[in-house]
Subunit: 138 residues, 2 copies
DNA sequence: ACAATAAATGTTATTTTATAACACCTCGAG
DNA sequence: CTCGAGGTGTTATAAAATAACATTTATTGT
């Protein structure tokens, strides 16, 4: 279920299929999982998925989770405008939350700057236990 | 050139070979690049490299760069003890600096905690321009 | 409307990254 | 000695991503 459709700039057929697949999944999917999901809708080759993903990533509708080799629909209304995003990945249920790093970005930049490094983009992925799993474990 | 040998707990033959390869490289290498580098030293199959890497990762002598699918020798005297580490990867020269996140960890944890998430491990990889490349570009 | 151009698609083959499965060796505790 | 854990060597396979090429579908300028 897709909640906040961004300012969706009309997707093409394949882009729409891939985006819907990711949105409905409610969690991260690998490119090949998307492929399987869309076999019935005419998607037959990995490239069809990867090409759609490339565009969706450009548009900011989808994010790539490097530590999982997988992709997730953006959960945030205006990622592009906002500060650095970070992803909290639950080790138990594999759910993913996308959080806004508000002032985190400034701290990262200044930390990097102390080494003479100019930040262009940041990948921040946390591993741990989500609130639901934390409570059920007690 | 390996500078600060940690408290190296005697590596096995293959572990030593892989660690040396990574140390001498002075930058990130893929498992298969390590394999190629060590063909002359009796390493013939990916598994020999991946098994050694697994142990080296456990020991904290080596880190995995998720966004590059590659590995780098630890540059920091005492990673284990220290706070969250972050990696600054230069988009031009591909060099990698490992920085200590001092108070960054606290901020990450509190940010995650506001979502009910308990952090176990963090992957932080920055993309940008290193000091050397920044100056040469001018 | 029509040609020129750009963007998206369909398909096959290939590369790159990572594991599975199984046999053998080595070395130290009992 | 023996047996059990960890390390090694090897072959085969799985999973993730890209290359190359032909075709089709929009966009744009005239
Ligand atoms: Zn987002
Ligand atoms: Zn969970
Ligand atoms: Zn380190
Ligand atoms: Zn550089």
């Amino acid at each position: 279920m897709n909640t906040h459709q961004h300012s969706t700039p009309e997707l093409t057929k394949n882009q729409g299929l891939v985006y819907d697949s990711l949105s409905h999944a409610g969690g991260p999917l690998s490119a090949y999982a998307i492929l399987d999901d869309l076999r019935d809708h005419g998607i037959r080759a990995p490239l069809q998925v990867y090409r759609a993903l490339d565009k969706l990533l450009e548009m900011g509708l989808v994010h790539r989770l490097e530590s999982l080799n997988s992709f997730v629909a953006c959960q945030h209304p205006d990622c592009d405008a906002r500060a650095t995003m970070l992803f909290a990945i639950c080790s138990k249920c594999s759910c993913v939350s996308e959080l806004a790093g508000e002032d985190l970005e400034a701290q990262l930049k200044s930390l990097a700057a102390s080494d003479g490094f100019t930040v262009q983009a940041a990948t921040i992925e946390l591993r741990g236990i989500c609130s639901a799993c934390g409570q059920s474990a007690a």
